[in-house]
Symmetry: C5
Subunit: 102 residues, 5 copies
């Protein structure tokens, strides 16, 4: 999985019928220092995650293993919201309990 | 999924029998500032998308999950036309209603 | 799919039994200006393509969706010979009818 | 597979139901000189590996081939703890028998 | 497939039960000029290939299509030993018949 932050949304009316009803997020990749990188993906939301949240996304055929993405043309899915990252015994990131706006 | 713009078409007479009838587009990757990057893919069109449109494409086995690409040797498919990208509460991109030429 | 040019061949006597009989080509990636890049793959030939031809290759599990690569340990396959690339209303590349040597 | 070192852990309460119970590690990629690179992944642990251990991880659909990751939205899995790397007849790396803290 | 040279071996006692008995090689990627690049993978050996040999490896789900890797958490497999690479009508590489040490 990759570590990312949800930074935006994608609106699409004309799309493959199999992706109807899926929420699509712009997700920027994060470095180990939690800075946003230039790379990003568009990922389906399997969780009800919110803008600005730090999340994990899975790619490839594994992105189709959630209930909402099964058998759909989706190659990236938000499958976990990160509460805490711990590196070297220290919290690299801790989620603000009030963070996230669905 | 990746964000791209359809910039051209590929014509091929000699090709695997399983891709007969598919429209193949040249798609340039877009950055978060909507500029075209040097990287590109050739993607099958599952939608009737048009030249110059901003689209999403799915890759890998997920590219075979649309009705038109099922069981074909296709590793990239245009599966959504983007109407709007919203980042930080602002529209990063809004589709011109008259845009796109099939 | 990726755009490439067939630049060479690979000869192998000791190989997995499932790839017996497949022709393996060295394929260099091409940029949008049709120059050869430093990156390349070895791809199986599903078409009877020839040296120097500009082709498309599919990767990953999609590379196993042609009749000749089905269920084989092949992750890249030449599945279309390019006749023409059109970008911005102009032919970026047109195949010379006499090009290609099987 | 890729060579990496387990450098941290990811805590997540809200996640896809199918990944409940999996331990998720931050894994930094290692170069052939055993230095940590800037790239990293989050990988599920199929082994009971510990912090600081040098491991191999598998990606893509292959990451779902262990007993603990089967049919889950997991695209990277720790599937081997490295005891020794030998390059050019010399041990590039030898695991300290007391290394690793579950 | 990618072109590489087997440069080392990986020893692992604690590993997923499904990879028991597989030989794991360190494989460095080769450029078109046959120089070793900085990138490498760990690949299972499906052939009885030997150290220093120039080989092809397949990645992703295709790496599970050999008899020895079927249904295992393996994402790279050595599936051909290269005898000769021919580019531009010249042999870029020819295998020394005495090369390779199992």
């Amino acid at each position: 999985m990759k570590l990312g932050r949800i930074v935006g949304t994608v609106v699409s009316t004309r799309k493959d019928e199999k992706i109807e009803g899926l929420k699509l997020y712009l997700v920027r990749d994060l470095g180990l220092d939690m800075t946003e990188k230039d790379t990003f993906v568009v990922a389906a939301d399997a969780l009800g995650a919110g803008l600005h949240e730090v999340i994990l996304y899975a790619q490839g055929s594994s992105a189709r293993q959630t209930r909402v993405t099964d058998a759909r043309p989706i190659d990236a899915v938000v499958m976990a919201i990160v509460d805490e990252l711990e590196v070297g015994g220290k919290a690299l990131y801790t989620k603000n309990p009030t963070q996230g706006e669905g």
